[in-house]
Structures are given as structure tokens and as C-alpha cells.
């Protein structure tokens, strides 16, 4: 490696280094400082110590947002991902001309941005005329007057249903890729030895797709905790009735950009970053623990 090539390597990296220096490292440091200042707009700021954190951690609305976000994350992992895996298992046959076609269809909602999905579903969830209530009525004979987005008890189910539509096919793609690692020989051997479908799933498929599953679980958790656009559009820029659809990022957005208190926004951002970090680490730990036991 000569000097000229080293210089060239740094030149190739320079656009990234300059832009991320100005718009990532510097703001990252500033976010730490900002969390300890009380701001009003972008010009006035006063040092207030831990008071932003004290305010946020004493605010019942923040805990409302934390609870909603956690519930959403739990549904993402324990309802959405099993459905994704199930569809991937159904689609994953050795030779199937239709596999690519159905994969395409099931993935397609992911192309629609969360804002557009939110706008579309806010109409689909309308009482009486909305497609979803009409479908429920058609199938079961009632449900026509469910007020999904106006009834606090139904806001979270509506949010979960919408995210199922958006993400089940997307995560299925990852599971399908992971299923490529399942050895056909091992599956055949297990079948010859008399292992049933469930035993083959637990002892052959699960170990083979574990790395992908861990990746998908962590990405879904991180994504769930950063939920914003979907409920924002679905509930027309509010937290919904009784703040039943308020998420942590929405809480941050309201304080930082609607009330102009950037300091509190930075404090919430830090709390969120720590939550995400702690959960990701815990998930990696748990999966390692399962592996060794």
C-alpha cells in the first residue's frame, strides 16, 4: 500500500466524513448538551441541569406514550413476526413457479410510505362506510359501527392491524432469505428418522434461521420504538382520543417542534436512545443464553 493509494482512500471517504461530521457527530454532541438546556425556539436557551429529564420522567403523558409504544412493540414481535415466519414457511418450497409472484404481492405494501398508508387507512377505518367495517360486517354480521379511530380502546388495535398490513410481507422476505440456510439433506434425514413437522421445525429450521430471526426481532423492536408517521397520519397529527395513539417520537415531536422546546426534545431523544440500546442488548443476551443452554 503506497502513500498515493492511502490518500486516495481518504479522498473516497471524504464526502461521508465531512457531511457526517457536520450533520451527525456535531449534532450528536450537541444533543447531549441541549438536553440540559431549556430552549424556546432556536435562539434562546438557559442551562437548567437535569430539569428536562425530571420533567419528562414525571410527566404522565410520557408514560402514556411509553406504554403505547411498548404495547405496539410487543404486538410487532409476538403477532407480526410469527405471521411473517408462517407465510415464509408456506411459501418456501423447493420448486414453485408462483413463489416469486406471491412474494411480490405480499411485499408490495412496504413500497407505500407510512404517511400514505396512514392517510389511506384513516379512510378505510371509517365507521359505517369504511372498507374494514364493511368487511367485518360481511364476514360476521356485525361490526359496522366500530369507531376505530375515535374510540380509545380501538386505536391501538387499528394501529396494529395497519402495521400488520405494512410489515408482515416485508419481514417475510427476511425469513425467506433465512430459510435458504436450512439444509435440504438435514430435513430429509429428519423426515426419514420419523421427525414430525413440529420436531423438524424446532430442531432443524429454528437453528438454521436463528441469525436472521435475531436480526428481524432487533430491527422490528428498534422500528417499533421509533414509530411516528403511521399514527401521525392515521390520527391526523394528534395522539388520538385520550392520547391512545401517542408514541414516544410523537411526544418528542410535539414538545420540540410544536411547542419549540428543543431541550426537552433532546432529553426525550436520549431516553429513547437508551431504551432502544438496552432492549437490543437484552435481546442479544437472551438469544446467546438460549444458544448455550
Amino acid at each position: 500500500m503506497n502513500r498515493r493509494q492511502t490518500v486516495n482512500a481518504w479522498l473516497f471517504l471524504s464526502p461521508f466524513l465531512v457531511v457526517s461530521g457536520v450533520f451527525f457527530i456535531y449534532p450528536f454532541l450537541w444533543a447531549t448538551v441541549l438536553a440540559f438546556y431549556q430552549t424556546s425556539g432556536s435562539l434562546h436557551s438557559v442551562f437548567v441541569g437535569w430539569s428536562n429529564f425530571r420533567f419528562v420522567l414525571g410527566d404522565p403523558e410520557f408514560f402514556r406514550a411509553l406504554r403505547n409504544t411498548t404495547v405496539f412493540a410487543v404486538f410487532s414481535i409476538f403477532l407480526q413476526l410469527p405471521l411473517s415466519l408462517g407465510l415464509a414457511l408456506l411459501l418456501n418450497t423447493r420448486k414453485d413457479r408462483w413463489k416469486g409472484f406471491f412474494r411480490l404481492i405480499l411485499f408490495s405494501p412496504h413500497l407505500v410510505g407510512p404517511i400514505f398508508v396512514g392517510i389511506l387507512f384513516s379512510v378505510l377505518f371509517t365507521a359505517r362506510f369504511g372498507m374494514i367495517n364493511r368487511f367485518l360486517h360481511y364476514v360476521s354480521g356485525h361490526g359496522l359501527d366500530l369507531r376505530w379511530l375515535a374510540d380509545p380502546a380501538l386505536v391501538m388495535p387499528a394501529l396494529v392491524l395497519t402495521s400488520l398490513w405494512m410489515y408482515v410481507g416485508f419481514n417475510m422476505i427476511y425469513f425467506l432469505a433465512g430459510l435458504q440456510n436450512v439444509s435440504d439433506d438435514l430435513m430429509d434425514a429428519a423426515r426419514v428418522d420419523g421427525a414430525g413437522p413440529w420436531q423438524r421445525f424446532v430442531h432443524v429450521i429454528v437453528p438454521a434461521i436463528k441469525p436472521v430471526a435475531l436480526f428481524v426481532v432487533i430491527m422490528s423492536t428498534i422500528g417499533s420504538f421509533q414509530l411516528f408517521e403511521l399514527p401521525y397520519a392515521l390520527l391526523n397529527g394528534t395522539g388520538g382520543p385520550d392520547n391512545a395513539g401517542l408514541t414516544i417520537v410523537m411526544y418528542l415531536y410535539q414538545h420540540a417542534f410544536e411547542s419549540g422546546d428543543l431541550g426537552t426534545g433532546a432529553a426525550v431523544g436520549w431516553i429513547l436512545a437508551l431504551i432502544i440500546f438496552a432492549i437490543s442488548m437484552a435481546q442479544i443476551r437472551i438469544s446467546r443464553g438460549l444458544e448455550s443452554s
Partner: protein
């Protein structure tokens, strides 16, 4: 509750399943295959229903929007039930304080920003990925570590300080506020590094011996070899930019500079009584990503999952 086509379908499916199970002597293999397809088909119908509904809502006359769930029956097709009224209202010139605009302007804004950001990210990420994959120099491990670490930080944490920087630079209400910060992508560099690792060293050495510059090695030798990754990344970057809402909503103020997600979110309030209009806009807004996806879908699915499977 009345008996309808849905219930008939369920009963028919159960009957076919039972018949296959008992009449075919293959231990239920064909019955299971039937069930597999039935479930996949049902899931596909559920996924496609909102799209079909959106297309129908766009072309139905506003007066009959709620009369039919999807399209009216063929016997009632006429210009009174199906027409372009919603689209015509959507594309009507609108008066704002800064002048008169049509919906084309917002489509153009979104296309311009998405194409610019995609092009810039493609260039900077492939170049940086090339440097990290094909040069061994002191500090390369540090840069890679920084890139992987940066992906753990929730972007919303940086929004408040970035907002202040944008204010200080005087870029509020300017496209620069959206283009410059997103001209680079850590995720893109990571993907391109993985792809560039597969470029043979001998090829680069041969070009070097012939006197090619280092930039030429990157641009004419390495870049053409990772075309699948370029295709996949183009789609990822285009989608991210096209669907981006927070940044344009925070940094842009003038109506004539807004992008589709921001303006449509406003139209939901403006056209609350005639929602066929903003639904027509939503249909238009989802078309470009869909077209791009069908052009690039092969590269996309392999590129999207390559990081996860190896990781």
C-alpha cells in the same frame, strides 16, 4: 346474519380439503398443498384489497363513493358513477400566498428531491464502500466501526440539533436542508463495502499497471461489477427519500416547496368533505415507487437481505 359468497367459499374450501385428504392416498400431501395455496391466496387478497379500494375510490364519482365498497357492478358503469372528477379537482390550480400552483408542482418537488438524494447517496456510498473494501490503511477499521455504531442511534435524537444547524446556515425553507444532510448514508456504505469485497484484486492491479487512476479503478472497474447492489440501493434510497415526512415537514415552510407526503397530509384537512381528492393524490404518490420496484425487484430482494443473512 345472512349467508353470502364468503361463507360459501369457506365451506367449499373445507370440502375440497376434506375430499383431498380422504380420497387421495398420498397421506394428505395434496390436501396440505391445497391448504397452503388457500392460505397464501387469502393473505394476498387481504394485502391487495386496500390497493383495489384506493383505485376504486379515485375513479368513483364523489356522490357514489360510499354506495359501493369497490367498483360499481358492470351494469351500472357510466360517467355518472366512474369518472375523473377527483383527479380534476386534485389538479385544479390552487391559490396560495406565493402564487398559483397545481398538484404537478408537488410531484415535481418529490421527484427532484428523491432523484437528487438517491444519486448523491449512490455516488458517495459506493465510493466510500470501495475505499473500505479495497484499501488497507490505518483508520479503516475505525471508520467502519463508526458507521455500524451510527446505525444504532435513533435519527430523531439528532433532529433538534440538526434543526438548529439548519437555522444557523440559513437553510430553512430551502431544498439544501434536505439534500445536504442526506447526501451520505452509513447503511449504503455498509452495503457497498460488502458487495465490493467480491471485486477481484487482480482486476484492479491489472488496471493499475496499465496506468489507470484510482478514481478510474473505482468508477470503471469496480462500480460496474456491483450493479445488482447499485440497483437495490437505488430503490432503498429512493423509497426513503420519497416517503420521508419528518424532515420536509420541519424544514420546509412555503407551500410551493412542499413534497407529496407533507401536502397530502394537509389535503386530508383541506378536503375532509371530499376525500376522493386526497385519495386520488395518494394513489398518484404511490405509483413512482411501485414502477421503480417492478424495474428493480430482482436486485432489490437479494440486496435487501444480503446484510441480514451474512450478519
Amino acid at each position: 346474519m345472512s349467508f353470502n359468497v364468503f361463507h360459501a367459499l369457506l365451506i367449499a374450501a373445507a370440502a375440497v380439503y376434506g375430499a383431498l385428504w380422504f380420497l387421495r392416498s398420498d397421506h394428505g400431501v395434496s390436501a396440505n398443498t391445497f391448504l397452503r395455496y388457500a392460505v397464501i391466496l387469502a393473505a394476498s387478497v387481504l394485502v391487495l384489497a386496500p390497493f383495489a379500494w384506493l383505485v376504486a375510490a379515485t375513479f368513483k364519482d364523489p356522490d357514489v363513493l360510499n354506495e359501493y365498497v369497490f367498483f360499481p357492478p358492470l351494469s351500472e358503469w357510466s360517467s355518472d358513477t366512474l369518472n375523473f372528477k377527483n383527479l380534476r379537482v386534485l389538479f385544479e390550480p390552487r391559490q396560495t400566498s406565493a402564487g398559483t400552483f397545481t398538484f404537478w408542482l408537488f410531484i415535481f418537488n418529490s421527484l427532484f428531491l428523491a432523484c437528487t438524494q438517491t444519486g448523491l447517496q449512490l455516488f458517495t456510498s459506493s465510493m466510500a464502500g470501495f475505499a473500505l473494501a479495497k484499501y488497507s490503511f490505518r483508520g479503516s477499521g475505525l471508520v467502519l466501526g463508526f458507521i455500524l455504531g451510527s446505525m444504532m442511534i435513533p435519527p430523531i435524537l439528532l433532529l433538534a440539533p440538526v434543526y438548529m444547524i439548519i437555522v444557523n446556515l440559513g437553510w430553512i425553507d430551502s431544498f439544501l436542508a434536505l439534500i445536504v444532510p442526506s447526501a451520505v448514508s452509513g447503511y449504503g456504505i455498509f452495503l457497498f463495502r460488502q458487495a465490493m469485497l467480491g471485486v477481484p484484486k487482480e482486476l484492479l492491479e491489472a488496471a493499475r499497471v496499465e496506468g489507470a487512476s484510482e478514481f478510474r479503478l473505482y468508477f470503471s472497474v469496480a462500480l460496474p461489477l456491483v450493479r445488482p447492489m447499485s440497483g437495490a440501493f437505488c430503490l432503498v434510497a429512493f423509497l426513503a427519500s420519497w416517503n420521508n415526512f419528518i424532515a420536509p415537514n420541519v424544514f420546509l415552510h412555503s407551500t410551493h416547496k412542499l413534497t407529496l407526503p407533507v401536502i397530502l397530509q394537509q389535503y386530508v384537512g383541506d378536503y375532509s368533505s371530499q376525500y376522493g381528492v386526497f385519495l386520488a393524490g395518494t394513489l398518484i404518490a404511490i405509483l413512482p415507487p411501485v414502477i421503480l420496484f417492478f424495474l428493480l425487484q430482482r436486485e432489490f430482494i437479494s440486496g435487501l437481505t444480503s446484510g441480514a443473512v451474512k450478519g
